[in-house]
Subunit: 411 residues, 4 copies
């Protein structure tokens, strides 16, 4: 066992840190201004475009995508990507997008790389890898418990040479953005099939007739318009060519699972970056702010918050790194239990750390003057993204308490 990161890891992390400090953090107020100046605007802002150019020049581009048989990628292994992803979490509105490593495009690119046909990859993957367009993933539905895939209400049926989609999706992140050209939609092609073979995945261009963008949703008051927001979308007799199926008929559940593993670990990496950003901010505040005769850093409760934060970050970062290593060396499926573990533990811990940071900042922590409240909303949302914590914890607990190892899970 060796806890020292290799040279390549250090080199990319150093580059990412320099990019963050020199370009991204200074761009935060610029983005705020551009958002303020265009209240009706859901597109990628100019400051992001500019950062993307710089990132590409510095080789900080598409690093999330490990090299694969598909010939795309050339990014980093999960283990090497982790420190970079964590650094992007320190400026979550800018850094991931700047480096073309932002959800949900990352997961969508992975799907296209792994399951797409040559035509699909050319049409969608290549422009996505160049950030020429954006994409959304349409899985969650307003009327059903999305963590239970058997409940999906959207129907996809075959009509001659076309697939026809009917259903309602929401929390399609990014889909308010007019640059979002592709929707990957999960629906049932065989509602009477075996539980995990009923679903299929379809590529639906956003401008197809019958795609109705109903409204943007808010998350704790935020519309996240700089990321294309979160859309509710109605699919009404939406027709796409038969060739738009991603993978085979009935592969939808398996594809979704394949997407969620890396998606979850990326979320966790970035969440740890948010926690580190919070600690940086706490450090500044605790030394600058004076109350009752001294700086806040002298208060025992403040030191306790900082200690708890540090311990949780250190322990959970190691668990994330080990999970990444397992995914790299034994495959995503072998890391199932670890992925569940970090999915449950990291967002909870980061929410708690952000809560303390807000408390230290007082009312200022609630406002847009600091990134804390917005990061809190993001961390809180992660406890529901891809299924609520409790579903994952219950599955993990069931595995843990099984007398015989469950299939595919090492105890």
């Amino acid at each position: 066992m060796d806890f020292r990161p290799d040279e390549m890891t250090v080199a990319f992390a150093d580059e990412a840190r320099a990019f963050l400090d020199e370009h991204v953090l200074p761009a935060e107020p610029v983005l705020a201004k551009q958002i303020e100046d265009g209240p009706g605007d859901w597109t990628v802002r100019p400051v992001v475009r500019a950062l993307q150019e710089t990132a590409q020049e510095r080789g900080l581009w598409n690093l999330f995508l490990p090299p694969g048989p598909h010939g795309y990628g050339g990014g980093l292994s999960n283990l090497r990507y982790a420190p970079v992803a964590e650094l992007t979490g320190r400026s979550p509105r800018l850094a991931p997008a700047a480096m073309n490593c932002a959800a949900p495009d990352t997961g969508n690119m992975e799907l296209l790389a792994h399951f797409g046909t040559a035509e699909q990859r050319e049409a969608w993957l290549e422009p996505l890898l160049e950030a020429r367009l954006r994409s959304a993933f349409c899985m969650t539905e307003p009327g059903t418990a999305s963590s239970d895939a058997s409940q999906i209400g959207t129907r996809i049926h075959r009509d001659g040479g076309e697939w026809v989609v009917n259903g309602r999706k929401w929390f399609a992140t990014g889909a308010m953005n007019p640059d979002c050209k592709l929707l990957i939609v999960m629906g049932k092609t065989d509602p009477n099939g075996p539980r995990h073979r009923q679903q299929s995945m379809l590529l639906v261009p956003r401008d197809t007739p019958g795609v109705h963008i109903i409204r943007p949703l808010t998350v704790f008051g935020y519309d996240d318009r700089d990321h294309g927001g979160h859309a509710e979308i109605l699919f009404e007799d939406v027709r796409v060519p038969a060739a738009n199926l991603l993978g085979g008929e009935g592969d939808g559940f398996a594809i979704a699972q394949a997407r969620l593993g890396p998606g979850r670990i990326h979320h966790c990496m970035r969440a740890l970056g948010m926690a580190e950003r919070a600690l940086d901010l706490m450090r500044g505040r605790a030394n600058d702010r004076v109350a009752f005769g001294g700086p806040l850093v002298r208060q025992g409760v403040v030191r306790e918050w900082a200690a708890d934060a540090r311990v949780e970050i250190e322990a959970l970062r190691l668990l994330v790194l080990k999970t990444a290593w397992l995914m790299d060396t034994a495959g995503n499926r072998a890391a199932m239990k670890e992925i569940q573990a970090i999915k449950v533990a990291v967002p909870r811990a980061v929410q708690r750390i952000l809560d303390h940071a807000i408390q230290l900042f007082g009312a200022a922590g609630l406002t847009g003057d600091h990134p804390l409240a917005e990061m809190f909303a993001a961390a809180r949302s992660l406890r529901l993204a891809d299924g609520p914590d409790e579903v994952h914890a219950a599955a993990l607990g069931k595995t843990e308490l099984a007398l015989e190892p469950l299939e595919g899970v090492a105890r």
Copy 2:
């Protein structure tokens, strides 16, 4: 000891509950629509005006203001008001405003009733009691730790027959509303006086030259525009007549303390109402929503959340009621320790309950489709309003651990 509420309490609570069920809750979507239709509008919305008329007719008006020597009031004792205030918390954007029982106007009316001259009462208190205008309280400052009153940076100096104010305030709730005509401003008239005699309180009409409304602040992503938002205000050589001083010179700290006691208990009462609303919503969701083969109510974790919520609400409600009783029978000062206790405990518990409710609702809980996320932001803010939890807890702990009873505090 007798835990049965008296007839008057029951009668007012019944009336308030009927008003809530028949008028307020049905008006929630109307308010949402009126807000959506007027994106630049910070005024009191028509639906609130209509509710106010009904509330007045039903005798549900100004109930927060106990009868006093000033001849105003005619409201309820704290103990009798508590159930009514809790009920208003179930619809926090509408019910308090509908019954003219919304902060910060309530606290401002109390100050005017207790400390105002006849002229001040006529000019400001009477129209406030009739909801003809709104007011804001300007205490918190962006640059200093407001829980430490000795740090207040705003200066008020005398110049002939006028007071001149210079300083910067923020979190002046309601002050974005053009109907907000009165600002009550705390500043230092004697920066070198004894620590708690340096401050004075001044009545400043919002349209006085030199009053610059700088910007609205957000709390999480909410601008609370239906309540007049939260303003940052710059006071630049603002001149008001000498008669505008509230109370005497140097009374500012004492007046602020007098205001905060009732303010805190009202916040706690309404917060419990938010928690009850959350439990109502959880009840519906847990029975309606099906996942993994049954309604969510069958999940042990969901039952645990409901049980914890019920226990916390019951215990803390009793503590709030006892505090109200103490304030009524022994005075606000004698209830200091209890006020600290509920100030610390209630918002934390309500935040936790709302967090669980959001989790039960899944992604929907984060949106504006349910009041949970917005109530969460409100409860979270309460942990900072009138000073962070930790300041009050530390003071309470110090009292508790003192070998000799501290002055004015019964062990």
Copy 3:
């Protein structure tokens, strides 16, 4: 609603406090010495006998037993008893026994008073009321989940004029004491009857042939020998006269439920007394102990512990008092939900408070030099006594989330 205790309550509480301060607390080291000097001894110690005489003289005797139709009692209502019971919790090894208010005798006396025949009352209740003998309650079994009464394995069958008992019980508190003459045993008389009519309750003299006291059990290393310990008992063809049935055949479950309500609230009252004792001890320690340049009371974390403890005690005490009032005015059954609430909440809170108190005392807190570790073990046990927390919380949560009020439970 009125939070002022009546004169009778105050008078008894004052008397109990004086007895505690003058007699009980000074007797604690005497008891410790007497226990140390008689390592094999499970009987009531002389110091307890002496305190019992004093308590009787002062009218502090059997106060737990409200007057009833049976003609026994003359004690206090639940509401008036609460402050007295809480005070006894401050010295849990001595005060309850000194005032003949110690479990399990209290519950057993209640059963005999309510369900016993004249002969049973004369034979057992009267000597118990005079503390001439002790009793144990044999319900929990080592092999089954005792919170699920349908699982009880002990069998009671009729053989002519006798009942014959076979089975194994444990955690029969007090039964190691040779002065414990009576065992009240729950077993199934009709294993095929309706779920809650299978059980009956039998009076079994401890010296009946076939009663084998197997061994004492420990609780966190404590054998609680001053209270008669906790026994495992084997009943092997134990024969008692038919007249020894308590209540009717099949009444066992109902009788057990009747016993548990008051038992639970008494436990909660005493547990709050343990918490107050812990706070007293913390107060002393925090002022006396110096580390890193000042007394511990200056540490923010210590103040936070004290504040949290005070808030939890105050809120939960009120909930206990309200429960007592409900039991007095509406009956034990109407207070079911409140009893569940305090059963769940009080021991958890007291455990947490004791944990903090131990932490403040350092290693000394773990030893027998202070009552903290022993009280911790007692509080921890309460989370399992009469069924684990989780069973009660789940039942409470189920009630809370029910769309229609469940039978016999007011929402």
Copy 4:
């Protein structure tokens, strides 16, 4: 970075696991019987002696002591020792002693190896390495806050060719055992010297005149007599030769610090083993125990406990391993922050896991029938051993919030 343990690590862990399963776990009831049969006995029991022989044969001996310049050792690096130490924690009363890896002897052997003269090593280290005698460490004092070394009250003064010790120590673990021949005593040789140069460390044979073993202490109700208990010791004019000083005069604080680093990580490793044992027990219980119609494993709350336990163990184990790696590769001092982190986090987590396990076992979990209650007492004690959590957390928080890196600590 590589999370795969090397071959040597795997080999030793496999051997230790086999020894545990084949010899140690089956010996647990034997030890219980031997303790029960010798109530006045504080010595190492025969079953431990027998296990020690087997362990030596299998090469599982003194593995805690890394090879050093002193020529002793030949054990494992911290990183390789970690899995072995964790395994010993699964049977904490037997396994560490069986493998001669039990505190406090391990720490004492380290001190003798690093700081002892050739004569001291021959006299004490060699027999300790062969388990021919036992030792105790006398640092904690009853009257002072031991986490603040400047407060140490024991005095050591020079009188001709001798050192004379006066003072009172307690929590001298192991010192009740007559086989404990050596006491390492910390006292002040220069009370007026610089704060961290006042203390020296002295080797005092337990049978030296003036050494009074006052009494055994209990931890919760346990006297830990199989480990030699925890003694209070009075040193009254105790005279030892000048050559008995360990290290130089004034080196006491530095030596103590050197001892505590490895001691703390060993405690954490074993504590994780206790948590794994608890999970094993929970697994059995959750499947075997039936309540309310099914095995407990079907209860959501039970699964949640298991999931939380697994996540905490995995994350904290990685943090412990990283700390071990840092100690091996960069030195104990460079790992200071990580040692603080695990010292704070591991015992808290393990206490929580054990608390849940006890709850799952019901009343049985409190007794001596399962190791849970005793392990709980051990884990709880760890939160105080070598200073309370809060002292370490405050130091860690201070470091974390420092604007400039503190001396010797990498951020």
